[in-house]
Symmetry: C2
Subunit: 230 residues, 2 copies
DNA sequence: CAATCAATTTTGGTATACCAAAAAAAATAA
DNA sequence: TTATTTTTTTTGGTATACCAAAATTGATTG
């Protein structure tokens, strides 16, 4: 909050644009145009694009325009697989290392979410959901883990955003969050880890469904081609 | 590999300098000086520094000179904790998804390492060791996992390099690698995962010892200066 | 002599200019 | 009309110039 370096601000704005769909998946992100539009020069815009690339929201190609990422179902599934592992580890470590105050803070986030769920628009709802998971990762007291976990969450923003719009899941999500908090309070690593796995398993299910639905809609080309390795 | 974009080349060179100790931990990495020294402009140098920052080899501070990272023992330990989780997941997924050819390739790396161990200098030895672990991550067929895993390996270059296996560990390392390969061939996820945990556990032990040893040495604050050259 | 503050230098952040490669468009040949 | 080649435009990569914030140095004052 305190610091907001220019590239970060630009990245934040681009991120919102991508998330909101103003920049569609597959669309080129031209540094010159975007820079002009935002009234900055190419240099910070360039860096902002790299930030988004690191987050996986845009894809860099050598000597070509970066494009808004349009991950395939497999790519999203793979990312969630890793996310699950990271969150399970977070949960276990949080049980071990979190202070009581931190766990209380996590509960507070959960209760705020439960209380305001219906009042929030879905992007806010979404952010508080992310805050819940981020707080657990932080409570692991493993900075590297928290950072990597955060990167994965950021990367999945769009996919989760698209799949999280309905109020249908409301009760289940809140119940699972509640179970996770209870597990933390009981310092029960297994319970926390297991419930996190279940929770994210449902997320994966919804994202798959979302993909199905979108597949039936117009398919605006842009299919994946030969991957080059890392 | 095929392409080597300029920032990548610069990053590679800086990486070597850091790894080899030509740039000591804590030393500032001034983009102007380094750029001049390497005969390039600041722009690609800047990007190279960001790449290294992403890898965790240098630390970026707002409006200050980036410095060569000098991670604390806890930071290294934390990173290894995550690395273990990533590698265990890699192993399990590799058991599930790797082709027989891929596993054969992993065995080939292992055997090459076993055969040439005594001939290689320790940086080469080190790279073939990395190749072994990277191959397993790739065999998971989870691109995101392989990328993140690669990032962690890169980040740990220096720590692992410093704890460079003397020939004492030779037999144990090779035996553990052999066990891992055997587990892959037997498609035994539990065995692979377990042995990876053991293997990296030893790595952690060595790194901790290395830290102990260095702590006893002089605590050199910031050395290294800019060469005034040509 | 020490501490503090001002002037200078250093250094990263940003803007802009130039270049080469790639895309797109236009022209030409079949 | 279609395919191919040539020209123009677009765009990322790189170099350089300028600026403001730090760090450093040195002077000044207690």
């Amino acid at each position: 909050m305190a610091d907001t370096t220019l590239p970060d601000q630009i990245a934040a704005r681009l991120r919102r644009d991508i998330l909101r769909g103003r920049l569609a998946p597959g669309a080129p992100v031209k540094e010159r145009d975007n820079a002009a539009e935002m009234g900055v020069s190419r240099t910070p815009m360039r860096e902002a694009i790299r930030i988004l690339a690191k987050e996986g929201l845009v894809e860099l190609r050598p000597a070509r325009s970066p494009v808004v990422a349009n991950p395939t179902l497999k790519e999203v599934t793979d990312a969630i697989t890793v996310l699950v592992a990271l969150e399970e580890l977070s949960g276990r470590l949080a049980v071990e290392h979190a202070t009581d105050e931190e766990i209380a803070g996590i509960r507070r986030i959960h209760e705020k979410m439960a209380a305001e769920f219906d009042l929030l628009d879905h992007i806010d709802r979404f952010e508080i959901d992310m805050a819940f998971h981020i707080a657990i990762a932080k409570a692991s007291h493993n900075v590297a883990l928290a950072r990597t976990h955060g990167a994965y969450l950021a990367r999945m923003w769009r996919a989760r955003f698209l799949s999280a719009r309905t109020r249908r899941n409301r009760d289940r999500v809140l119940r699972q969050h509640g179970t996770i908090v209870a597990g933390l309070e009981a310092r029960d690593a297994e319970a926390v880890s297991r419930e996190i796995g279940v929770h994210l398993g449902h997320l994966l299910t919804h994202i798959i469904e979302e993909f199905r639905d979108r597949a039936e809609d117009a398919r605006p080309a842009v299919e994946v081609e030969s991957d080059s390795g890392s």
